[in-house]
C-alpha cells in the first residue's frame, strides 16, 4: 500500500507537471563542467594513492580537526570515494579541490589556499615576528642611548667609574 501510495504520488507529480521550463542548465557541478584535464587513470592503486593524498588536505565535515583521509565517518568515506572516482576520470588535483570547495566551501580545505586574501593568514605570523624583532631592536637602541652619555663621561665601564667616584669621595 505504501509503495502504491508513493508511486501514485510520484506519477501524479509528473503527470501534473507544467510545461518544462526553458532548456535546463547543465546540472553537473560547475567545477566539473569542464572536461578532465588529463587522461583517465587506469591504475586503481595510483588513483587510490592520489585520492588519499587529496583527502589529506580535505576537512572531514563531521569531525574535529580530522582530514577526510583520517576519518571513517560516512561523509569522509563518501568524499574519499568521490575523489578517487574523479581521479580515475582524469580530473586534475586543482579541478578536484575546486569541486569540493564548490560543494562545501573553502572551509573544506584544511590548509588555506595561498591566494587572494588568504595570503594574510600566511603572512601574519612572519609580519608579527618582524614587528617583534623591530620592537626589541628599538628598545635595545633606546637603552644604549640612555647609558651612552654616562659611559662617555666615565670611560668604558660606567660601573667602574661609579666605584672610582665613590672611592674619591671617601
Amino acid at each position: 500500500v505504501t509503495r502504491l501510495l508513493w508511486v501514485l504520488s510520484l506519477a501524479a507529480a509528473l503527470a501534473q507537471a507544467p510545461a518544462p521550463l526553458p532548456t535546463p542548465e547543465p546540472s553537473t557541478p560547475a567545477a566539473l563542467a569542464e572536461p578532465p584535464a588529463g587522461p583517465p587513470v587506469a591504475d586503481p592503486a595510483a588513483a587510490a594513492a592520489r585520492a588519499t593524498a587529496l583527502a589529506e588536505g580535505l576537512r572531514c565535515p563531521v569531525c574535529q580537526g580530522l582530514s577526510a583521509a583520517a576519518s571513517q565517518a560516512e561523509s569522509a568515506v563518501a568524499m574519499r570515494a568521490r575523489a578517487e572516482e574523479l581521479v580515475t576520470l582524469g580530473y586534475s588535483d586543482e579541478q578536484i579541490l575546486a569541486f569540493f570547495v564548490s560543494r562545501y566551501g573553502e572551509w573544506v580545505l584544511l590548509e588555506p589556499p595561498r591566494a587572494g586574501r588568504h595570503w594574510l593568514i600566511w603572512a601574519a605570523p612572519v609580519a608579527l615576528l618582524c614587528l617583534g624583532a623591530l620592537v626589541v631592536a628599538w628598545r635595545m637602541t633606546a637603552a644604549r642611548q640612555v647609558l651612552a652619555p654616562e659611559a662617555a663621561a666615565a670611560g668604558d665601564d660606567p660601573y667602574e667609574r661609579r666605584v672610582l667616584d665613590e672611592l674619591d669621595r671617601s
Binding site: 505504501t2 509503495r3 501510495l5 508513493w6 508511486v7 504520488s9 510520484l10 501524479a12 507529480a13 509528473l14 501534473q16 507537471a17 507544467p18 510545461a19 518544462p20 521550463l21 535546463p24 542548465e25 547543465p26 546540472s27 553537473t28 557541478p29 560547475a30 565535515p61 563531521v62 560516512e74 561523509s75 568515506v77 563518501a78 568524499m79 570515494a81 568521490r82 572516482e85 569540493f100 570547495v101 564548490s102 560543494r103 562545501y104 566551501g105 572551509w107
Partner: protein
C-alpha cells in the same frame, strides 16, 4: 600615563577583541552552505523498491530531498513531519528520501513498520552526498521548479519550516 604604551596596547587588543567577538558570534560547528542558489546536481538513482528516479525528470516541480538514515535519531524524529507535509502537498511537490550510510534492507524494514508516502533512493557510491555537500544527517534540500537549491535545513526539520520554504517558492 604613558600614551605610547596605551596606543600600542589598544592597537593589539582591539583587533584581538574583534576577532574573538566575531568568533563567538557564530556556531563553530556550523558548516557553510554553499550549494544554496546553485543548480542541484542531477542523479539517477534506484529507490529501495528498485524503480529509478532521475532528478532531471522532475524539473518543473518543486522537490524536497531529505538525506536520512535509520540510525539517526533526528531523522526518525522528523519522519512523521515529512510524511505529513508530503501528504499535504501530494501532486504539487515531490518528496524524496536519500539513504545515507545505511543498509537498504534495514531501511526497507523500518519503513515497512512506520510507513512512507514517498520513495527513498539508494546511493551506494554516496555520490549525491558529496554533490549536495551533505555533512551529516538529517539534511533537507528544497529545490524549486527550475531545479535550483533554494534552501537547506540541517537537523530535524519542523512543519513550520517546510511550509515556510514551500510558500516562499515561486
Amino acid at each position: 600615563m604613558n600614551w605610547k604604551v596605551l596606543a600600542v596596547g589598544l592597537l593589539l587588543i582591539v583587533p584581538l577583541v574583534w576577532v574573538l567577538a566575531k568568533g563567538f558570534g557564530h556556531d563553530p560547528h556550523a558548516i557553510p552552505t554553499v550549494t544554496v542558489g546553485s543548480r542541484a546536481s542531477d542523479f539517477d538513482l534506484p529507490t529501495l523498491e528498485g524503480e529509478r528516479v532521475r532528478l532531471a525528470d522532475l524539473v518543473g516541480r518543486p522537490v524536497v530531498l531529505n538525506f536520512w538514515a535509520t540510525w539517526c535519531r533526528p531523522c526518525v524524529a522528523e519522519h512523521r513531519t515529512l510524511q505529513a507535509a508530503a501528504q499535504q502537498h501530494a501532486g504539487e511537490v515531490v518528496f524524496l528520501g536519500v539513504l545515507y550510510g545505511d543498509e537498504p534492507e534495514r531501511a526497507r524494514r523500518w519503513l515497512a513498520e512506520v510507513g512512507s508516502v514517498y520513495p527513498t533512493l539508494v546511493d551506494p557510491a554516496q555520490r549525491a552526498v558529496v554533490d549536495y555537500g551533505v555533512a551529516g544527517v538529517p539534511e533537507t534540500f528544497f529545490l524549486d521548479r527550475r531545479g535550483v537549491i533554494v534552501h537547506k535545513v540541517s537537523g530535524a526539520i519542523s512543519a513550520g519550516e517546510i511550509e515556510g520554504v514551500l510558500r516562499s517558492m515561486p
